[in-house]
């Protein structure tokens, strides 16, 4: 399923997991469980040795996954084994894409059911070649807007993005935080775009997810909280978290069906 189709029904819940943690074999099952519990989109992180945008929880998961034998070949093989009919989105660092070759990487995404890419260390100014590869393979390249992205820069980033626009809820790295900041709500407010707005970084509870949806986001993204539960082997807890978050966002804003443009 393409992202545009998924976003016909908003709000959405997007869950991030680190592919290959605890083992490459377990990942397709976890994705299916997330989909069953209510995740509308799953971001599959490709573990990197030097994840500069990630906090300690995802760093540790990446290290475990690499040690368990995760690599880019295994990643695509695993993604194509996912049974659930939801969009899968790649999330990972540019060097991993660059070494495979941009065109090959984008094509491998399309072939294995990955419909979009999020590359946290690739700002639009450096992304020209990958954007072209993604266009040719018909996969979305999703950009990020941060709280300190200037007003002049927001339209430039938004216009470059496709699929959705990723709003970084706060400065710093990924990981659970105590509360949703007023600056996050201000960011949702000030970013004007026709693309769906998905908010991530620091969202770990149903209440926080509901808050960003109430503030006008089209999707809430939960990452480190999922990775943390997986690392503790608490699959029931993971299912419960996703169910709770989905219920909370639907309560915050009942589904509106957006006509496809």
């Amino acid at each position: 399923m393409k992202l545009a189709e998924a976003f016909e029904n908003r709000p959405l819940l997007i869950a991030y997991i680190c592919a290959g943690d605890p083992t490459p074999e377990s990942t397709p099952e976890i994705v299916e469980l997330l989909a069953k519990a209510g995740a509308d989109v799953v971001e599959l992180g490709l573990p990197h040795s030097d994840p500069i945008a990630d906090g300690p929880v995802i760093q540790a998961a990446a290290q475990r996954a690499i040690e368990a034998g995760m690599n880019t070949d295994v990643y695509f093989e695993m993604a194509s084994r996912v049974g659930a009919d939801i969009p899968l989105v790649f999330m990972g660092y540019y060097n991993m894409i660059y070494q495979r070759g941009l065109d090959k990487f984008a094509k491998d995404c399309a072939k294995s059911g990955i419909t979009g890419l999020i590359v946290p260390d690739l700002p639009p100014v450096e992304a020209g070649p990958l954007r072209e590869a993604c266009r040719k393979a018909d996969v979305d390249l999703i950009y990020l807007v941060a709280p300190n992205t200037s007003a002049e820069r927001v339209p430039y980033v938004a216009e470059s993005s496709s699929g959705f626009l990723y709003l970084v809820a706060r400065s710093g790295v990924t990981g659970a935080r105590a509360e949703v900041l007023s600056s996050t709500k201000a960011l949702i407010e000030r970013v004007k775009t026709d693309l769906p707005k998905a908010v991530g970084f620091g969202i770990s509870t149903p209440e926080q997810a509901a808050e960003v949806i109430r503030a006008g986001a089209d999707a809430a993204i939960v990452g480190s909280a999922c990775v943390d539960l997986i690392s503790r082997g608490d699959i029931d807890g993971l299912e419960e978290l996703i169910r709770g978050m989905k219920a909370a966002i639907l309560k915050a804003r009942p589904v509106e069906v957006t006509a496809r443009i």
């Binding site: 030097d50 945008a53 660092y93 660059y98 700002p123 990020l144 941060a146």
Partner: protein
């Protein structure tokens, strides 16, 4: 003369750029603007120049190493950066960046350190300018550079142990970048080498170019002509770019001596060396496209060198470019060669070089003909910090 091209103002040929999270784009832009403005500002230049003279002890001498020259059968000069306050060239860059940070209204400095020399320089300047200073340092490096950890703490800095990844310099840089992404409003990230995203490679090279500017004037005065070669060790490459920048437009051969460590091989996770210009492959690390040590999938390898300051799986993007266009000649000195340089320079000249600089000295000892008739070796630091390491190394080798 070969032409050095910059295709855009953030790149050196194909290398460099800004491969960083969106959160860092604005801080990098502000830094580039502030630095660009201040470097032309007479008052700022006066202040920096005053500190370089009175606090750092510049200019450093260009010393004709008579015994070494006799041994090698040619004239070899040493650019004495080991005499800079703190014992290494690192202070040149730190003073400049800290003044920029202060002008930008930042109250806190963060820095990464490998061998501890950059951390010590940052701690000294933090104390001197009254800025809170926190240094990220890998646990492995903390263990092998205890004396420098104590120096930093004595100077009032906080040393934060980095336990992620390989627990060395590359992970300390990761951690500093993560910190900066959340703290840029009051914090300056004081990067110690010519690596990282624009404007760091350019700014650090310019702040270190004082080495090359002085050396060029000094050699012209001493010899009445330019040297045939300039040799410098390369980890990230700040002392090398500092001295090379004085001779880029000349015909002087520029030799970049990388760490050969235990050998040129690598396994799945660890390379036995730190020789990115010689053996690395193009890729992105710490915000820049450059030559890096990596596996076929793009995972960064751990590097290795007896010299902690050369133990880095990346290299400055400008050096990658200069090596590619043939303006810089990459070379390798392994641990044994560096140790030999360390011992010989101590005995011949009464100067104990840093293990990093010892790579350039050792290379010269083994390859005298590559130097030409008149050569300069950049003696980037002094070796007091390395005595424990050398003693252990010798013990291990049964000497």
């Amino acid at each position: 003369m070969m032409k050095i091209t910059e295709t855009s103002n953030t790149r050196f040929g194909r290398y460099g750029g800004q491969f960083v999270p969106e959160t860092l784009m604005q801080p990098l832009k502000e830094l580039a603007e502030a630095y660009g403005r201040l470097k032309e500002d007479p008052e700022f230049r006066r202040e920096l120049s005053g500190l370089l003279t009175d606090y750092a002890g510049r200019p450093t001498p260009l010393y004709l190493a008579r015994s070494l020259s006799r041994e090698l059968g040619r004239k070899v000069y040493l650019k004495r950066e080991d005499l800079v306050h703190g014992g290494a060239h690192k202070l040149n860059n730190v003073l400049g960046q800290a003044l920029v940070a202060k002008e930008m209204g930042k109250t806190r400095l963060i820095a990464e350190t490998g061998a501890g020399q950059h951390g010590v320089a940052a701690a000294m300047v933090g104390a001197n300018l009254g800025l809170e200073t926190e240094i990220y340092m890998g646990e492995v490096d903390i263990e092998r550079q205890k004396m420098n950890v104590y120096r930093m703490e004595l100077l009032g800095a906080k040393v934060i142990p980095v336990r992620s990844g390989s627990r060395t310099l590359k992970d300390a840089i990761n951690e500093a970048m993560r910190d900066w992404a959340g703290s840029y409003e009051n914090t300056h990230y004081l990067m110690g080498t010519v690596a990282g995203a624009h404007p760091y490679p350019l700014m650090v090279r310019e702040l270190q170019s004082v080495i090359g500017t002085e050396a060029r004037e000094q050699i012209l005065k001493a010899e009445g002509k330019l040297p045939d070669s300039v040799a410098a060790c390369v980890g990230g490459g700040s002392n090398a770019m500092g001295i090379f920048s004085g001779f880029l437009a000349d015909d002087t051969k520029l030799i970049a001596v990388e760490a050969g460590g235990r050998g040129t091989s690598h396994d799945d996770k660890i390379a036995d060396h730190g020789a990115c210009l010689n053996l690395g492959k193009e890729g992105v690390l710490h915000g820049a496209m450059t030559k890096i040590l990596q596996d076929p999938y793009g995972q960064i390898l751990e590097s290795y060198s007896v010299a902690a300051g050369l133990d880095y799986p990346g290299v400055g993007p400008e050096l990658a470019h200069l090596a590619e266009v043939g303006r810089v000649t990459p070379a390798i000195a392994d641990d044994e060669t560096a140790l030999e340089g360390f011992r010989r320079l101590s005995v011949l000249e009464g100067i104990i070089p840093a293990l990093e600089s010892s790579h350039a000295v050792g290379y010269a000892l083994n390859n005298p003909r590559a130097l030409g008739e008149v050569s300069i070796i950049n003696l980037s630091g002094r070796g007091d910090k390395d005595l424990t390491t050398v003693m252990e190394f010798e013990g291990r080798c049964g000497r």
